[in-house]
Symmetry: C2
Subunit: 334 residues, 2 copies
Amino acid sequence: MQKGDRSIVYDVPVFFEGEGSVVGKKEGDGPLGKLFDEVVADPMFGENSWEEAESELQIRAAKTALKKSGLERTQIRYLFAGDLEAQGVASSFGMAKLEIPYFGVFGACSTMGETLILGSSMVASGAADYVMCVTSSHFASAEKEFRFPLEYGNQRPLSAGWTVTGGGACVLGRRKKPLAITAVTPGKIVDYGMKDSFNMGACMAPAAVDTIAAHFKDMGCGPEDYDAIFTGDLGIIGSQILIEQLAKKSYDIEGRHDDCGLRIFDIKKQDVHSGGTGCGCAASVLTAFILPRMKEEGWKRVLFVPTGALLSKVSFAQGRTIPAIAHAVRIEAV
Amino acid sequence: MQKGDRSIVYDVPVFFEGEGSVVGKKEGDGPLGKLFDEVVADPMFGENSWEEAESELQIRAAKTALKKSGLERTQIRYLFAGDLEAQGVASSFGMAKLEIPYFGVFGACSTMGETLILGSSMVASGAADYVMCVTSSHFASAEKEFRFPLEYGNQRPLSAGWTVTGGGACVLGRRKKPLAITAVTPGKIVDYGMKDSFNMGACMAPAAVDTIAAHFKDMGCGPEDYDAIFTGDLGIIGSQILIEQLAKKSYDIEGRHDDCGLRIFDIKKQDVHSGGTGCGCAASVLTAFILPRMKEEGWKRVLFVPTGALLSKVSFAQGRTIPAIAHAVRIEAV
């Protein structure tokens, strides 16, 4: 089951049993707009605060995934969830309603990767027949948590991303389905000493380089073994760094690399600068675009690598660096 | 491996291979003072901020656990860590130095239970030979994160606890040792609608009731099968509620119940009101007191049940409830 320094190859595939995606209006106006299960025009999602809106968004994605899986709520043995808010309140308030044994995780925008690794390992070991993995982000709750009050109308540098209002949920399980997780490579925390929270792509790219290179080494494979390699939200700048740095390690991923943050918005028309970001970016693009695309295109194998910047507003205010992490999940047509 | 509704029983025990505990001066002055691996008089731990102090505390606990395990850093396949700070920065900045593939978790003061469940399940499944589980809290960083600036010198109601400045780390693995994790029962989020963040014990007790009762039901056992049942930080008030509520479910735990928060301080002399709290409370008492005590007293079986209140300062300011969670870990002499 262990493979190389840090990867896990599953003896039995862990199948994608049902997925749900919910996004806001701006995401609905983007190039993937028609693919999401639900596009909600009201940024408050009918709730009273940005935090409650994000919880509602998350619970809707979870319920959609559950419905598509055809399972009852009580058949989901464990739930893995996380978000960007302090103490993960979007998840704990949202997921409390499901009354499923709960593991809160924090991996910033890499959270969907972390939940998929932990969830799939529980299914693969036989500790659970079905688990659910959920994550979300909300533009307004993230701006409030990390940056400026929206009312300031502050300007953003071109290197900044735009936090996706969206969430994705996956039910993983043991019943045979077309797509499955067959291997995972957990990330290390990588800190290159960068401090610019308006250039997250550059902060996170070294973590993606580290994890993708580790995955190739552990598995004895290379970019040519993948139909596509999707990072989470490196955006324009981070994607360039990733491609260049992996090329220096003799891995040419340029023709196969894609980034959820560059897919979810029309970068030029929608004024999102470097691209979409947030836990919900990778999660909603995975569930609404990547998994369906694998079936449509007959892709055999995709590497899904969400990336996260592990900062807080306190660490930023203290002038500290921005450590980052990336988790890799191998998805195969089985 | 699955047992009952939500428990896992391991086919092979997951052994405690090495533990480390580090605390501050007040904890060192308490009844367990001589048992901790390290008592640090300087609340800043030689660093420049409370957050960095907590990271330093955590890394010291981790290094001590590693040293006692006799393993090299590179033999630890995965690291599970979390803390109370927003976005878990004490853990990510502290643990980055170890360069071990990392899973950040958030379970508030139940975090040590969550890391032990996730870590032990990775060892039990064969995905790792050795993992490390680490968590911490710091009185000053927690007050800053959740309550008032220390400079206010605000008064605290008698129902309030005192956040422990401390951390604990455990290396779990496959080599035979005297003590092991043999079963776990993950918690559900339980929200009884309480809103008083100065009475965390009452907020968390229902979660402990739910998890302990689920454990007994899943395992087909009762309090009489345990030498001791340790909750994390229910304190005086929460412990009373726990005992009463479990009695209503026909589980009499009074003679066997103990609480890490009531052990770490001399409640009357040290002016800590309802008792010690924080992720570091359960973690440091587990590593410095519970595990050694099991060996000394010849105890066969202990249930370790850290409890967490899943609030943030934003959710508190919004007048929302305080959902809670508790995770149960069965530790046996093997």
